[in-house]
């Protein structure tokens, strides 16, 4: 019997394919139409933080250095009001096996896949995570397939995407390269069905648990280096796993620092647009993922997303492309390290926030990633120029996404701007209301929704009147 492999038919088989490709039945956590038992789902995977750290140490993950950026901090203080300019630290996650924090996320999935007897793993990803899964799979003796959106209808691939695909292949993975479109998920399902491999989704409890070690490590490192807790931790935000896992790890270490998201503002560009695909210089860590995933986490390739960023997010800073390129170059010239775009996004957010904070405060940028051909900011800007984007120096606020990138002339022009958190929470509520009329929400649903946006029931009652 041949299966119906049309888009509609495959999407209709989603739940059944997911269940057999992860050995995880999400139905058991269901508490209502909206609510599910998030903490039980996270704990059921059976790994303590100590287990996670031990598993990760087997495959070259974790225990990455923490550096204080003395020169950048000094530069920020020169443009700040007297007494302002927090100490900036960075956790050098590029030191993980595949060159980014994503190795933490992939490590537990690969371990579980091997334990459960799967022959291979599959992940759908824009890139760094693919390299991480490929690297971890190689070390666990598993086959690996990465499903990646790579090229537009003219066959042109964004250089960073191309590099990330190359890295997956370097670790022995098969890379399925796809044109622009949301059907990536459709083809992921088909490939899972064909191979019977494990779905190493970014959004399983395994993926998020793996990042908890990052928050735990960074807290302990800052304590031992400064004798204090960090005051703020800046986290590049896209799908929400980085923020969720890090924040959970910080809480496990008893750290209550402000958890601040940071994304590159790509407003005006459509993520599934064939034209816009190659007119953005950032392939992740941007608002095209950051906002929709914050305001509705369950739009992903698993029934319930373990990455629920609004549960932990205290603030959200947006930076623009030109600002990140400026800070990337400054990191190299002032601090003597070249790093890739993801961590430099949160570094840009940290520079803008450090100016507002007292000089004795501590702000931690919790990741870096590797850079190189394709990923390098020179490569991105050169490609942007070839795509007809104007690149110039000036006031970065004048940049228009998809048309121009304006790189600051001076550090003082790196300002970032705040995303309205209340607006995000209301947007989440609207999305929840689309799933089920709020009049029909049970007490469990109400408590779940409030917790999912880090608010209480009193706030919920007020907020529901506004949507």
């Amino acid at each position: 019997m041949t299966r119906d492999n049309s888009y509609q038919a495959v999407m209709a088989r989603k739940n059944e394919i997911m269940k057999s490709s992860m050995g995880l039945d999400y139905e058991t956590y269901r508490q209502g139409e909206l609510a599910f038992d998030y903490e039980r789902m996270m704990n059921d995977c059976g790994f303590t933080l100590e287990d996670i750290i031990r598993i990760q140490s087997e495959t070259k993950v974790g225990n990455t250095p923490m550096f204080e950026l003395h020169n950048l901090t000094a530069a920020v203080r020169k443009i700040s009001a007297p007494g302002k300019g927090a100490r900036i630290f960075v956790k050098d996650e590029a030191a993980n096996a595949s060159g980014s924090f994503k190795a933490r996320r992939a490590s537990i999935s690969a371990y579980v896949a091997a334990q459960k007897g799967y022959k291979g793993v599959i992940a759908a990803t824009s890139g760094n995570y693919g390299a991480a899964v490929a690297s971890q799979a190689a070390q666990r003796g598993l086959k690996c397939i990465i499903v990646q959106e790579v090229f537009d209808s003219k066959g042109i691939g964004q250089p960073e995407i191309v590099e990330k695909g190359r890295k997956c292949e370097a670790f022995g993975a098969e890379v399925i390269k796809l044109s622009v479109g949301p059907e990536l998920f459709y083809y992921l399902l088909l490939t899972l069905e064909e191979t019977g491999f494990f779905n190493a989704s970014l959004y399983t409890p395994f993926g998020i648990k793996g990042v908890e070690s990052l928050g735990y490590e960074l807290t302990n490192q800052i304590r031992s280096m400064t004798g204090k807790d960090p005051d703020a931790v800046m986290i590049t935000h896209a799908g929400g796993g980085n923020l969720t896992g890090t924040a959970r790890g910080m809480l496990a270490a008893g750290c209550n620092a402000q958890v601040i998201a940071c994304s590159v503002d790509l407003s005006g560009l459509h993520m599934a647009s064939d034209r816009d695909f190659n007119r953005k210089s950032f392939t992740t860590g941007h608002t095209g993922f950051g906002v929709p995933f914050a305001t509705w986490p369950d739009r992903t390739d698993v029934p319930r997303n373990a990455a629920r960023s609004m549960r932990y997010m205290d603030d959200y800073i947006l930076v623009n492309q030109g600002e990140v390129f400026y800070i990337t170059e400054l990191l190299a010239k002032l601090e003597g390290i070249e790093r890739g775009p993801a961590g430099n996004t949160s570094l840009t957010g940290a520079v803008s926030l450090a100016r507002e904070m007292d000089a004795d405060k501590i702000i931690v940028v919790q990741e870096t990633e590797y850079t190189g051909a394709g990923k390098h900011h020179n490569s991105q800007l050169s490609f942007a120029q070839k795509m007809g984007i104007e690149v110039r120096r000036g006031n970065p606020e004048e940049g228009v996404n998809g048309k121009s990138i304006v790189i600051p002339e001076r550090l003082a022009q790196v300002k970032g701007h705040r995303q309205d958190m209340e607006k995000l929470r209301l947007s989440y509520l609207k999305n929840a209301a689309k799933q089920l009329d709020p009049a029909k929400w049970t007490d469990i649903d109400r408590a779940f929704v409030a917790a999912d946006v880090k608010k209480d029931l009193k706030w919920l009652d007020q907020a529901l009147k506004q949507i």
């Binding site: 888009y7 291979g120 690996c144 191309v162 390269k177 796809l178 599934a272 170059e329 490609f383």
Partner: protein
């Protein structure tokens, strides 16, 4: 003419969904284009360039598609000179 030997590392291309078969939520400019896949692997039999062939991928899957590239490789680089970056961080930041 243009025969490629079995075992050669090649890339094939396949249309997964025609424009009519695409997902309903696809935006207008993308809707008019087919959904295309490219995969690399080892050619399973002597074949002609530009014809439908079967490859064995790195994960061991057999995939059929149109033979598009012989010896696919990467050419991405650090890009051309971008003068706007060169003057950053050598003084004048403050």
């Amino acid at each position: 003419m243009n025969e490629v030997k079995a075992g050669t590392w090649v890339e094939v291309e396949k249309i997964l969904l025609t424009p009519e078969q695409r997902a309903p939520q696809v935006p207008e400019d993308t809707r008019h284009t087919p959904y295309v896949m490219r995969v690399a692997g080892f050619l399973t039999a002597d074949s002609l360039y530009g014809t439908e062939v079967t490859i064995k991928t790195l994960s061991g899957r057999m995939v059929t598609g149109n033979l598009k590239v012989i010896h696919p490789h990467y050419t991405h680089s650090f890009g051309d000179t971008v003068e706007e970056l060169l003057t950053i961080g050598i003084g004048g930041e403050i």
